[in-house]
C-alpha cells in the first residue's frame, strides 16, 4: 500500500473532509433525533432535574417541613427557587445524575452501532472513518446543547412560576454568572458524554458500556474517595478523577456562593473552578482522541 493512482491532493482531501463532516453530521442527526431512546433519556433527565431542583424543594418550603423549620433556612430555600438563583442551581445536578444520563446517551449512540452492524454500513458509504466518527460526535454535541438549553428553559419556567405564586419580585440573574454556569454545565456534560463515547467504542457493546460507566461514576469514584481518607497519597489520584473535576465545577458555580440549600450529591469543593475547567477539558480531549484512534485502527467485525 505505497503509491496509488488516485491519491487526492491535500486541498481536495480537506474539502472532501469538510463536506463529509457536514454530510455525516446531518446523517447522524437524522437518526439520533428519530431514536426513541434519545427522547426517553432527555425526558428522564428533564423530569429528574425539575423534580429535584424545584418540585421537592418547593414542597419542602411550602409545607415548612424538614430543615428544622427555622425561618432563615426556609427563606434560603425559597431564594434558591427563584430565577435569580439559576446560575448557582443550574449545574448542581449535572456532575452525577445529568452526567450519568449524558454518558448513557453517548455510550448507547456509539456502542449500538457495533451490534446493529451500522458502523460497518456507515464506513462503506463515503466519508472516511474519522470523518464519519466526527459527524457522530458533532451530532451528539448538538443533542447535548439542545438538552442543556431545554433544561435552562424549564428551570426558568419553574422559577418564574414559583416567583409568581410566592409573590416574589422577578429579579433576573446576572448574565455573566449565567453564562459561566452554562459553560460549566457544558464542560461537565461534555466530559461525561466523551467518557460514554470512549467506553462505547472500547466495549463495542451498549449494555456493557452503560453498566461499566454507571458503576464507575456512582460506585468506584466514591469508594476511592472514601478510601483516600485512610491511605495517604491516594487523594492525589482521587482529586484528579473525572467525577471530582465534574463535582468541583458544580461546586465552584454552586451553593457555596449561595444561601442555605444543600449541595446535591456529587457536588464537591475539592478543586477550584479554573482547575476543574482545565481538568474537564483535558479529560474530554483525551477520551475523544483515544476513541478516534481506536475507531481509525480497529477492524470492524
Amino acid at each position: 500500500m505505497t503509491r496509488h493512482d488516485i491519491e487526492p491532493t491535500r486541498a481536495v482531501a480537506q474539502s472532501v473532509g469538510v463536506r463529509g463532516l457536514a454530510a455525516s453530521t446531518s446523517a447522524e442527526w437524522l437518526r439520533l433525533r428519530t431514536w426513541p431512546a434519545v427522547w426517553v433519556l432527555v425526558g428522564v433527565w428533564l423530569a429528574l432535574n425539575l423534580t429535584f431542583a424545584y418540585v421537592l424543594n418547593y414542597i419542602a418550603y411550602a409545607t415548612g417541613s424538614g430543615n428544622f423549620g427555622t425561618g432563615e433556612v426556609t427563606a434560603g430555600l425559597l431564594a434558591d427557587l427563584l430565577p435569580e438563583a439559576i446560575p448557582r442551581v443550574y449545574a448542581g445536578g449535572l456532575p452525577m445524575f445529568g452526567g450519568a444520563i449524558m454518558m448513557i446517551l453517548a455510550a448507547l449512540a456509539v456502542g449500538s452501532g457495533f451490534g446493529w452492524g451500522t458502523w460497518k454500513t456507515v464506513f462503506t458509504q463515503r466519508p472516511s472513518r474519522l470523518v464519519a466518527f466526527g459527524g457522530t460526535l458533532a451530532a451528539l454535541a448538538v443533542v447535548l446543547v439542545a438538552i442543556l438549553a431545554a433544561q435552562l428553559v424549564l428551570d426558568f419556567g419553574a422559577a418564574m412560576l414559583i416567583a409568581a405564586v410566592e409573590s416574589q419580585a422577578l429579579d433576573w440573574p446576572d448574565l455573566g454568572e449565567l453564562a459561566r454556569s452554562l459553560g460549566g454545565g457544558l464542560l461537565i456534560s461534555g466530559m461525561w458524554a466523551a467518557a460514554g463515547v470512549l467506553i462505547g467504542i472500547l466495549t463495542r457493546s451498549p449494555a456493557i458500556a452503560v453498566g461499566f460507566g454507571l458503576v464507575w461514576s456512582f460506585v468506584v469514584e466514591n469508594l476511592l474517595r472514601g478510601v483516600a481518607n485512610l491511605i495517604s497519597g491516594l487523594e492525589y489520584v482521587t482529586d484528579a478523577l473525572p467525577g471530582t473535576a465534574a463535582g468541583s465545577m458544580a461546586g465552584a458555580l454552586g451553593p457555596a456562593a449561595g444561601s442555605g440549600g444543600d449541595a446535591a450529591p456529587g457536588v464537591l469543593t475539592v478543586l477550584s473552578g479554573g482547575e476543574s475547567a482545565m481538568l474537564l477539558t483535558a479529560y474530554t480531549v483525551v477520551f475523544l482522541v483515544v476513541a478516534a484512534i481506536l475507531v481509525r485502527r480497529r477492524d470492524i467485525a
Binding site: 488516485i6 446523517a27 460497518k120 462503506t124 459527524g135
Partner: protein, 307 residues
Amino acid sequence: MSEAIVVTDGLTKRYGDQLAVNDVSLTVRRGEVYGFLGPNGAGKTTTLRMLLGLVRPSRGRATILGARPGHPAVVARTGALVEGPGFYPYLSGRDNLRVMARYQGVAEALVDDALERVDLSGRGRDAFRSYSLGMKQRLGVASALLGDPELLVLDEPTNGLDPAGMADMRRLIADLATHGRTVLLSSHLLGEVQEICHRVGVIAHGRLLAESTVAELRGASTVYVHAEPLDQALAVAMKVAGDDAVRLQDGGVHLELDAGRVPDLARELVASGVDIHGISPAERSLEDVFFEMTAGERPDLPEGSGG
C-alpha cells in the same frame, strides 16, 4: 472488459493462530460479474471486508479502483453489502436509506428509486426491525445501489431470499452488469454462480484454489459412447479425440470432445462397423468441479474462521 479494477496480491488475514484468509491473489475486471465461491467459513467475507477497508490485512495488499481499500475516493465509487445488512432497527427502511444517502452526500430523492429496484417500495415505511431476513437483505442491496456506484461488492446477496426473490436478485445483478457496472459477489450456491457470473474464484480454507471463467473451470465437455464391440469403439474414439482424452468407464467410452465434433465421431464409428447404442453429452456441473477441487484440499493450518 480487460481493465482490472480489483487486484489483490497475497492477501492474508490471521486471527491469533488461525489463518482466515491465506495468500489470496485475485483479479476482478471492469464490467464483469465475479463470483467468489466457497463453503461457509472459507474466508469469503473476511476477504471482502479487507477489500472494503473494514479489516486490515495481516499481509499482502489490495488495490481497488486504483487506490487502497477504504480510501474515501474508492469507497464513494463502491456499493457494499457485507454479511448481514446493518441498519438502525427503529428506523423505517426508507429512513435508513435516507441516513445513508446523507452520509454519501447524494440526493435523498434517490432513496425511492433504490427501494423500487429491490421491490421494497410497499414496505419502505415500516420499521427495519419488522422486516424478514429477505427484506433486510434487499434493503442492504438497495443501500449498496445508492449513488450508482461503479463497483458493487455483495456478500451473499441472495441469502435469506425465497426462490422468487433469488430470481429477482439474479436479474438485478445481470442488469447491473449490462449497464457497465462491475459486481463482485460471494456465494456458497454453485448454481447461482454458474448462472450469473462471468468468472469465478474458488476459495476454501482461506486459499484461492482456482480463478477462471465458469466454462474453463468446468473443463472440456465430455461425451459418453455406448457401442459394441467395445475395443473397436475405443480405438476409433482414440483416433478422433486423441489418446489422452479417452477412458473406459461404466461399460462405455468417455471422451473429452467438443460438442461440435460429435457427428465426426458418429461417422467414424459407423464407418468402422461399430454398432452404436447411444451417444450422449455429459457436461460437468460447477458443483462436480467444486467438490473435486475441495475434496483433496486440506487446510495447512487450523481451519480459517470468518464466513
